[in-house]
């Protein structure tokens, strides 16, 4: 029997997240390259879109179910997944490098006696064994890493690997009731940030820096973000100045992001900011100083005044979207 790779899928409010389908796709690809058998596991109560996993080529999913595991519990999820991984004797465990994945992966690794590689952006099997590439120093450099352990836990960076739909859409879902889950550490409440998209999950980000001159001018950033369906980001300088909340900070002491489009407004491009966003697919910079470092990594730039350009850009985007 082939060795197994187990894709751990993340659900919130009973819905599998987009990263879950990416994880399934990557697990499948790795399975075919290393001659493994791929299956998936998800912990939660009711999960309404669990059948969708079949569209991404995985044929077996275990649903570890208990009403008390509806929200994340690091102890409860860990124990349920470790028990299942031991039952099916999985050698590889794969998760998305989300808040949940980051929290859970190392716990699984210790319990399974596995090595743990986090936030991988490339998986190469051309040598016959796995070499993973992961960013360090917030993306200023990359390292190629390998496992010395037999059992292996891997997390993959969201938004980097694409979910690959497959023709084979039959999926065998086994529901396993988890008896008396370990709820020593558990989420008792979730406070949603009001109506806001998070920079860590957004496909487009509009960020503002010190060039915005004050918190009262961030409505220009918000309006542009609204017109694009984007999240609002911020530089460290404006977060430290108290203009914007820390959750919006992009950079080495904030969030590392790689959206399809990153619009930097009034941001000069300190090295610690660039580290957090330079892997964005397309970068637009709007800054008065034509020598600002942000222009070195921007695909398109306008070397002018944000107060002149942003309202015009918002108008133009709205026009195009309606047209």
């Amino acid at each position: 029997m082939a060795n197994k790779i187990l894709a751990v899928l993340e659900q919130r409010d009973g819905l599998l997240k987009r990263s879950a389908f990416e994880t399934v796709s990557v697990a499948n690809k790795l399975a075919s390259e290393l001659n493994l058998e791929a299956e998936a596991v998800v912990v939660g109560n009711e999960i309404s879109n669990i059948n969708d996993v079949g569209n991404y080529g995985i044929s077996k999913v275990a649903h570890l179910k208990n009403a008390e595991l509806v929200n994340y519990s690091s102890s409860g999820y860990r124990d349920a997944i470790v028990n299942y991984a031991n039952e099916v004797d999985a050698d590889y465990i794969m998760l998305a490098n989300t808040s949940l994945g980051k929290d859970l992966a190392p716990r699984l690794a210790v319990k399974l006696g596995a090595g743990c590689l986090m936030d991988c952006v490339k998986l190469d099997t051309s040598s016959g064994d796995l070499t993973a590439t992961r960013p360090v120093y917030a993306g200023k450099a990359l390292v190629d890493v390998k496992f010395n352990s037999g059992k292996r836990v891997i997390t993959i960076r969201p938004n980097v690997f694409k979910a690959q739909p497959s023709d084979n859409s039959s999926v065998d879902i086994t529901v396993k009731e988890v008896s008396s889950p370990n709820l020593k550490t558990r989420v008792v409440e979730f406070k949603k940030s009001e109506g806001k998209l998070d920079v860590a999950e957004a496909d487009i980000i509009v960020s503002g820096g010190r060039g915005m001159k004050g918190p009262e001018n961030f409505y220009l950033i918000e309006e542009l973000a609204d017109s694009l369906g984007a999240a609002v980001g911020a530089s460290r300088a404006v977060v430290d100045a108290g203009w914007r909340p820390h959750g919006e900070q992009v950079g080495q002491t904030g969030k590392t992001v790689s959206p399809s489009l990153y619009v930097a407004c009034g941001i000069s491009g300190a090295i610690q900011h660039l580290a957090g966003m330079s892997s964005s697919k397309y970068i637009v910079a709007i800054n008065k100083d034509k020598d600002a470092p942000i222009f070195n990594i921007a695909d398109y730039g306008i070397a002018g005044d944000v107060f002149d350009i942003l309202p015009a850009l918002t108008e133009e985007i709205k026009k195009v979207k309606q047209g």
């Binding site: 450099a141 550490t185 820390h246 970068i283 002018g304």
Partner: protein, 250 residues
Amino acid sequence: MKIAVCVSHVPDTATKVKIGEDGKSIDPNGVTYVINPYDEYAVEEALKTKEKIGDDSEVIIITLGSDISKESIRKALAMGADKGVLLKEDNQRDSFGIAKALAEEIKSQGCELVFCGKQSVDYDNSIIGQLIAELLGYSCVTVVVELTIDVNKLTAEREIEGGKEIVESELPAVITTQKGLNEPRYASLKGIMTAKKKTIEEKPAVDSINLTEVLRMHLPPSKQTGRILGTDKSAVPELVKLLREEAKVL
């Protein structure tokens, strides 16, 4: 209660990374090393906890690294921590090897509460706290921005995508700290003077195997400098056209 804070000594975030001679790590020449920024929140929270629960508690700074790491221990001592331990290791370890040595020391010191930064800004793994907790059988809450400890129970707010989770757990526990949890205090002149007299115990880090291994370090492909389309709003239509037709992101 004994409170441990795990601190790491890392390149400042303004560092421009160059690859070192071994091809596996950065070139340390000209690099300024500092206490890991997230660990400052850990030190501050430990000191605040000590102030709240009373004077018989003790804050112990534990660091794994070479002699130069003592600078970060001194900084934490100057902020008000009671003593430091340097687990000496000149070679590179993976996260598991680091966590194993830290966990052994935490156990032998008898600490029931442990604070770590949520990640170190060099290797960015964000897993040391969880590994320590699992090795010791402690609870663990990560990326914490608000914390209340009440006898053996703790309530923490952790930052996740799109909001905050309120988590309940129990002591003994490891907490990993995120920006926003507190405002780290500055070391006073008196603090800096007193820190010089505080002990930093040095001992070899316990042996551990590396479960993962760095093969090489390399720089990301450099981005081609793009086009400056203009200097005022007259460039906006062209920008939008390029985003639609060339980049295809709209």
